[in-house]
């Protein structure tokens, strides 16, 4: 292993955060000169891997539950903290579809991509929202489930599903900014998607020091601003 690699801190990143994370890291590196690497996948898998001793230094989750579990089992330096609240959007890449709650019931919508409520916080929020709106039972047969927010994006982006619920950070990301149409779901209609981060234990003091710097940076004003640009609310 080269010096450089072992120096870098490894940030386990929930899929919905990957776009914002690029900007966060860039700013952080610019400020401190500390190298960062990300490992992106669903929060659930990251949790399982951390439990098995994965060499990650900071865990940026999509919810509060996973970091809490890990902390209880002694993987964290301190109690996890919420760094942002996620925002749910309804997104389509088809020019012919104007996203709205009503259009979901129409016949031209055959599939609605939803994150799996069992494992993804955005899925839970979607379910809650649709139930409140009294549409859940009607639409249930149209759901297709993605195991993470990425899978949902894939379904929507490829047009396999005409429309779907995803994170606002996705539609605001540089790559997706001008693709398709989206509307934001009223945050009052679902309980907050509290996204928390956990500073993980490490045997090397230097790494831990750097990781803590990043962890603290995540709650800084600068970070907040970036997060807001990606549609996260504080």
């Amino acid at each position: 292993k080269s010096e450089k690699e072992s120096d870098a801190i490894k940030i386990a990143t929930a899929a919905n955060m990957q776009f914002a994370m690029n900007d966060l890291i860039e700013t952080f590196q610019h400020e401190t000169g500390i190298k960062c690497e990300t490992v992106v996948t669903s929060s659930g898998k990251l949790t399982a891997q951390i439990k098995a001793g994965a060499p990650f230094d900071v865990f940026v989750s999509a919810d509060l539950k996973y970091p809490n579990t890990l902390f209880k089992e002694g993987f964290g330096e301190e109690k996890p903290k919420v760094y942002a609240n996620g925002t749910l959007v309804l997104w389509t890449t088809s020019e012919k579809i104007e996203p709205s709650l009503d259009i979901l019931s129409e016949e031209k919508i055959k599939h609605i991509a939803v994150a799996n409520p069992k494992i993804a916080p955005y899925g839970r929020a979607t379910e809650e929202f649709l139930k409140k709106a009294g549409k859940f039972d009607d639409l249930e047969s149209k759901f297709v489930f993605g195991e993470s927010i990425s899978a949902v994006n894939r379904y929507i982006h490829s047009g396999s599903a005409e429309i779907g619920f995803t994170a606002k950070s996705v539609v605001l990301s540089p790559k997706m900014k001008n693709i398709g149409n989206w509307i934001e779901i009223d945050p009052s209609q679902y309980s907050a998607i509290q996204q928390a981060a956990l500073l993980l234990k490490s045997e090397q003091p230097k790494t831990l020091k750097n990781a803590r710097k990043f962890y603290e940076f995540l709650f800084s004003a600068k970070a907040k601003k970036i997060l807001e640009e990606y549609g996260y609310r504080s």
Binding site: G44, Y66, K110, H111, I119, V144, E147, Y155, S158, S160
Partner: protein
């Protein structure tokens, strides 16, 4: 729910294996017999699904057969066939994905059959078809079994492709491997364990009976 996903897995594996057997055996035979210069190219093509990571394969299938693609639209408009988020899509994907597992062993079985068997059947005036079914196939039973077991098992263990194009629909595309994955992700390890255990025991039982039967029939032949 557990049983639903298991049943789905089994159904998928059975249908896929059956289709593959029908497609793969003649293909394997052709590959073993052809003297065409292009043979290595065909052999390589048959092997490609192996090399492509399942998610990659799944991703391109998603793009190729999605509603926004030409093929996807065409199939839907003219045949009412939807290949993403549907069981038939999984079957198609699994057939592509497991093709080499059926073709390879059977081809190697055909290749190692002594040529004089074929010659003898021809000399008795038997057509190529008769010779194929009555002489060639029965004499490569171990290879056929290998092909069937590999394809069947591989389809049961199929995951990446299904993850990509399945959409995790209960009763339609939520096969056992996906259901287990869900439980693991949700940190419901005990559910995952139960399901894995059932899948394991079931598969073990199926395979064991295949091997037991096979062993007996081989014993009868070779003594």
């Amino acid at each position: 729910m557990i049983w639903e996903s298991l049943w789905l897995t089994l159904k998928l594996a059975l249908i896929t294996t059956l289709l593959l057997f029908v497609i793969g055996t003649p293909l394997a035979y052709w590959l073993s017999a052809t003297k065409s210069k292009s043979k290595p190219v065909w052999e390589t093509l048959v092997s490609m699904p192996l090399i492509l990571p399942p998610t990659v394969l799944g991703f391109y299938l998603l793009i190729a057969f999605g509603q926004s693609s030409f093929i996807g639209k065409f199939l839907d408009d003219f045949f009412g066939l939807q290949l993403v988020f549907s069981f038939s899509g999984l079957v198609l994907a699994s057939v592509i994905y497991s093709l080499p597992f059926m073709v390879h062993p059977i081809q190697s079985g055909f290749s190692s059959l002594p040529i004089h068997l074929k010659e003898a059947a021809y000399s008795l005036g038997k057509s190529k078809t008769t010779t194929f079914f009555k002489i060639m196939l029965p004499n490569i039973k171990p290879a056929l079994l290998t092909g069937i077991v590999l394809s069947f098992a591989h389809t049961i263990g199929e995951f990446g492709v299904v993850l990509m194009i399945g959409g995790n629909l209960p009763g339609e595309t939520r096969v056992a491997s996906i259901a287990i994955y869900d439980e693991v992700e949700a940190l419901n390890y005990s559910n995952a364990n139960t399901l894995s255990f059932i899948l394991f025991v079931l598969s073990f039982a199926i395979l064991l009976s295949v091997y037991l039967i096979n062993n007996k029939s081989l014993n009868r032949i070779v003594k």
